[in-house]
Amino acid sequence: MSAPRRRLAAVRRFAGSRSAVVGAVGLGALVLVAVLAPIVAPFDPAAQGGEPLLGPSGAHLLGTDQLGRDIVSRMIHGARGSLIVAAGAALVGAGVGVPLGLVAGYLGRWADTIAMRVVDLLLAVPGILLALVIIAVLGPGRVNLILAIGIGAVPEFARLTRVATLEVRERDFVLAAKGMGASTADTMARTVLPNVLGPIMVQFVITASTAVVVEAGLSFLGLGTPPPAPSWGGMLQDARSYLYQSPTYGLFPGICLAATVFFLERIGRGLQLAVGGGGSRAGVRGVGRGAV
């Protein structure tokens, strides 16, 4: 029913910032490569048989690993894992954190107290440790990895949503919705939520970029994507052992990781600028981990 002119304006603002466009194009390319991995990759990522630990050459653009597998192909397939984990973890974090923050902020009183104490509990444990514990309990695997990283991201989403909700709650249009006879759930979902979405979107991207790094870290520790499935973090870990024999082995997965985080960061910045003028003034930077 709505021709989203306002949204268009936000898109224009987003497109107007160069860094955001760089991020979007870069991430787009990555996603494309990941989706088309079986087509773009020159070799089967699991196929062994080449000479191990080759440097870059015509046949193997970036060389081969310790089992003679093509590094380019493994990186292309590894992008899938990294991106799925990033998006999945951010979705889990937002999916749990946003409703929690919304309820806490809007209902206040005991709901607020309970929700925020749960969040405090999560915050008391460092994120990587939390992920370690969760994986130790659930066992390794991609889904568990997503859950582990996602749960660690819940507090940030919950706090951010709560702060934004506290501000929006006092606005007249929320009172107006109540005055129209809207139920509490309806008011929260239809009136409050859209007005706190701006900063949440930014947080979503930031969480995704953190998840890429954490996933790599966990893979590096051997708790991430289980072999033989390729993942950037796993490759880094393998490369560590052969740092002297084949220095380029670890270089490229590292560059890919950094680039992905960089692209997501840029998108986050762009989003922040684009939605900044919207419904809520609560900025992302306003609620760090230390905020009460």
Binding site: S2, R6, R13, F173, L175, G179, M180, A182, G279
Partner: protein
């Protein structure tokens, strides 16, 4: 001092204190370059008050801020022209030089005095700082003495003790007095007051305008008073400059501006004002919307709304320049200045020709008043169930303090109020800020829970209603809020905003769309705009959207909480007329909450005056306005500035002293006694009850002795 002599001798000095010439201010926005000020020129002489009057976005505030180099937004693109103070062009001065002059030669008084003061610094020290920055030789003791003197002058009681207090210990009115003291501390040549009384209540506004007058006499400064309030202009200005679309469209001395306006905008603005002394059958709004400054038309900016232009070619093609009239006491930027006051102009111009006459509205006002006088009692239509009946409603909030946030005291925002509104009636609820009128309005929909009393909407008890019962009641009684920016969901299109109540009633999507179209046409909005977002509309249009939304569930009662106070005068009249039409069409009842006595007189048939949570006087409009028996009502009416400069010297204005006492600890007996001019010992002991007096209700011991009440 020389400038005092000039001011007191009354002769026109040769050189103006401040002269602004051909000022242009431009901003870069996503929509293009906005020329907020488009070649403004004005000058102010020592000892006189020049009032720059105009609506929102007409460039009046921006022009002075830019002139003093106080505009520092990132998107400021250009400030050009000349701002001559004491023979020096301020725009060419380096920052350091400019800063030396600010506060010494020219000082500003801002609208929001409370936030203009530093909250963590003692009030006296803030003024002293201003003194010592410009006079290094001044000792701390001497500065203190001077500050106490200044505070005394602007009417701050106990200045010696108040010196050491912080801004939060001062009321809004007192803060504005402090601001004035700060501004005149260095005896500036020019005082610029930007909407100095807009944030204040009428009774306090009258006090501040007096202080401002005193400050001018004391310093001999030229005062530039920026305001949107024609009443304030008429009370205080010597000369007037009217701004529209970033330009000055008319200048002249205050009397000729008000009696013989030579620009159609000025004339139209005055016609659209609701009046305190009479009720017009209909207000005469200016049609259309203020111009969009990013695309100013080549011709006259007012042409699309102008009654005098009548689509003439020259108005649309050529921009009229400001030309002095033959008599030499004013200038008008209109191609046809002589036609403006002419009685033959399309809108009935009886009012514009002689805005001061009480019979301006003609026989219509008489007609409107008669039925009111004949039905003095709300009890007459007893057969009908009143749309709203409030019985002894109480609402109190705890004041929490201490570690355990225990309620240490209670604020009685609403303390035993009873009222009733018959179907199709309009009750105007007036009072100053903090009197509890908004809380009362919110009680009706149980947006705030009542602490006691009974509220019936069409016979249904709001307080006892179940969840679904309450939802049904909230459909029959709808609310329109003061600020249309805040009351519309910014993430929904206006069409979806209006459809919200229908969606909540589970109307199918197609039906919703249809209904919304109809509602749009009823409130005078264009259907094509259905899919736009609220931010794309002006304040007046947004308020129409809010009204359309309130109408969607076909309510029997509309609660209007200051529905026009955020709007410009010309648009305000449009909305008030719309409300009148809607009521006539549908027979809705209105609870109209406002601080503006003139607006309430225009719309209401019954009025209730609130003070500190209680109704002190109520009755038909004619009774309350023409024969007020409560001293509070009287003072309130006397405080409202009259938009008519004729006879302002002789007009008897008795500003109400002091501020509204804290509702946490209201005075014993009669709550008004601390500010009442006729209070006696009995008032402190015995609380007056609201009783029937002369066809209305008044809560005053001396309501019968109308002679004594006349202050």
């Amino acid at each position: 001092m020389v400038r005092d002599d000039v001011a007191h001798s009354g002769t026109m000095p040769v050189r103006p204190a401040l002269s602004v010439r051909n000022l242009v201010v431009e901003f870069a926005t996503p929509a293009g370059v906005v020329r907020a000020v488009d070649g403004m020129s004005y000058e102010v002489y020592c000892g006189e008050t020049l009032s720059v009057v105009g609506e929102t976005g007409s460039g009046k505030s921006v022009s002075v801020l830019a002139a003093l180099g106080l505009l520092q937004t990132a998107n400021l693109r250009r400030v050009s022209g000349e701002v001559v103070l004491d023979g020096v062009d301020l725009l060419t001065l380096p920052q350091v030089e400019l800063r030396r002059r600010l506060g010494r030669d020219v000082a500003m008084i801002f609208q929001d005095a409370i936030s203009a003061l530093n909250p963590v610094q003692r009030v006296g020290d803030q003024i002293a700082e201003g003194l010592r920055v410009h006079d290094r030789a001044l000792t701390a003791d001497a500065a203190r003495e001077r500050v106490v003197e200044l505070l005394e002058m602007v009417g701050v009681p106990h200045p010696r003790a108040r010196y050491d207090q912080y801004p939060h210990q001062f009321s809004g009115g007192m803060c504005q007095r402090v601001m004035i003291a700060m501004a005149i501390a260095n005896r500036p040549k020019v005082l610029i007051a930007d909407e100095p009384t807009t944030a204040l209540d009428v009774s306090v506004q009258a006090q501040i305008l007096d202080v401002l007058r005193l400050a001018r006499e004391e310093t001999g400064a030229g005062v530039v008073l920026i305001t949107h309030d024609l009443g304030v202009v008429a009370e205080t200005a010597d000369r007037v400059a009217v701004t529209y679309g970033g330009r000055i469209v008319e200048t002249g001395d205050v009397t000729s501006i008000f009696t013989r306006p030579r620009h159609p905008y000025t004339a139209a603005l005055m016609r659209s004002l609701p009046r305190l002394d009479s009720t017009a059958e209909r207000l005469l709004p200016i049609p259309g919307q203020p111009p969009d400054l990013s695309e100013i038309p080549p011709g006259c900016a007012f042409a699309p709304r102008c009654p005098t232009s009548r689509g003439r070619e020259v108005c649309v093609q050529t921009r009229p320049e400001l030309r002095a009239d033959d008599a030499g006491n004013g200038a008008s930027a209109c191609h046809f200045p002589d036609e403006v006051a002419a009685p033959g102009a399309p809108p009935p111009s009886t009012e514009s020709a002689e805005p001061s006459s009480g019979e301006a509205a003609g026989p219509s006002s008489g007609e409107a008043a008669v039925p009111d006088a004949e039905v003095p009692d709300a009890e007459v239509p007893d057969a009908e169930v009143p749309v709203l009946e409030v019985g002894d409603a109480v609402s109190r909030f705890p004041v929490r303090s201490g570690v355990f946030a225990r309620a240490s005291a209670w604020v009685h925002a609403v303390d035993g109020v009873s009222l009733r509104i018959p179907p199709g009636g309009t009750l105007g609820l007036v009072g100053e800020s903090g009197c509890g009128k908004t809380t009362l309005a919110r009680l009706v929909l149980r947006l705030v829970d009542a602490s006691g009393g009974r509220i019936l909407v069409e016979g249904d008890d709001v307080g006892r209603a179940s969840r679904s019962g309450l939802r049904r009641i909230r459909r029959r009684a709808q609310m329109v809020f003061q600020d249309p920016n805040g009351s519309l969901n910014p993430r929904l299109t206006v069409g979806d905003n209006v459809a919200e109540p229908l969606r909540l009633q589970r109307l199918p999507r197609a039906r919703r769309r249809e209904e919304v179209r109809e509602l749009f046409s009823r409130v005078g909005l264009r259907e094509e705009h259905l899919d736009r977002f609220p931010a794309e509309f002006s304040g007046g249009q947004r308020q129409r959207v809010a009204i359309a939304r309130a109408l969607a569930s076909r309510p029997r009662l509309l609660i209007l909480d200051e529905p026009v106070s955020a709007l410009d005068v010309s648009v305000q009249a449009q909305v008030l007329n719309l409300l009148a039409d809607l009521q006539e069409e549908s027979g809705m009842a209105y609870l109209f909450v406002s601080h503006d006595l003139s607006v309430v007189r225009q719309v209401a048939d019954q009025v209730a005056v609130m003070y500190l949570g209680k109704i002190v006087e109520s009755g038909p409009v004619a009774r309350v306005y023409d024969d007020p028996r409560h001293p509070y009502t009287r003072s309130l009416l006397a405080s409202v500035p009259v938009p008519d400069p004729v006879g302002r010297e002789t007009r008897r204005r008795v500003p109400l002293g002091g501020d509204v006492p804290s509702p946490v600890d209201p005075p014993s007996g009669c709550r008004f006694r601390t500010r009442c001019p006729i209070a006696v010992a009995r008032c402190a002991e015995e609380e007056p009850v609201l009783r029937e007096v002369a066809g209305g209700h008044t809560a005053c011991h001396f309501a019968d002795e109308s002679g004594r009440v006349s202050v």
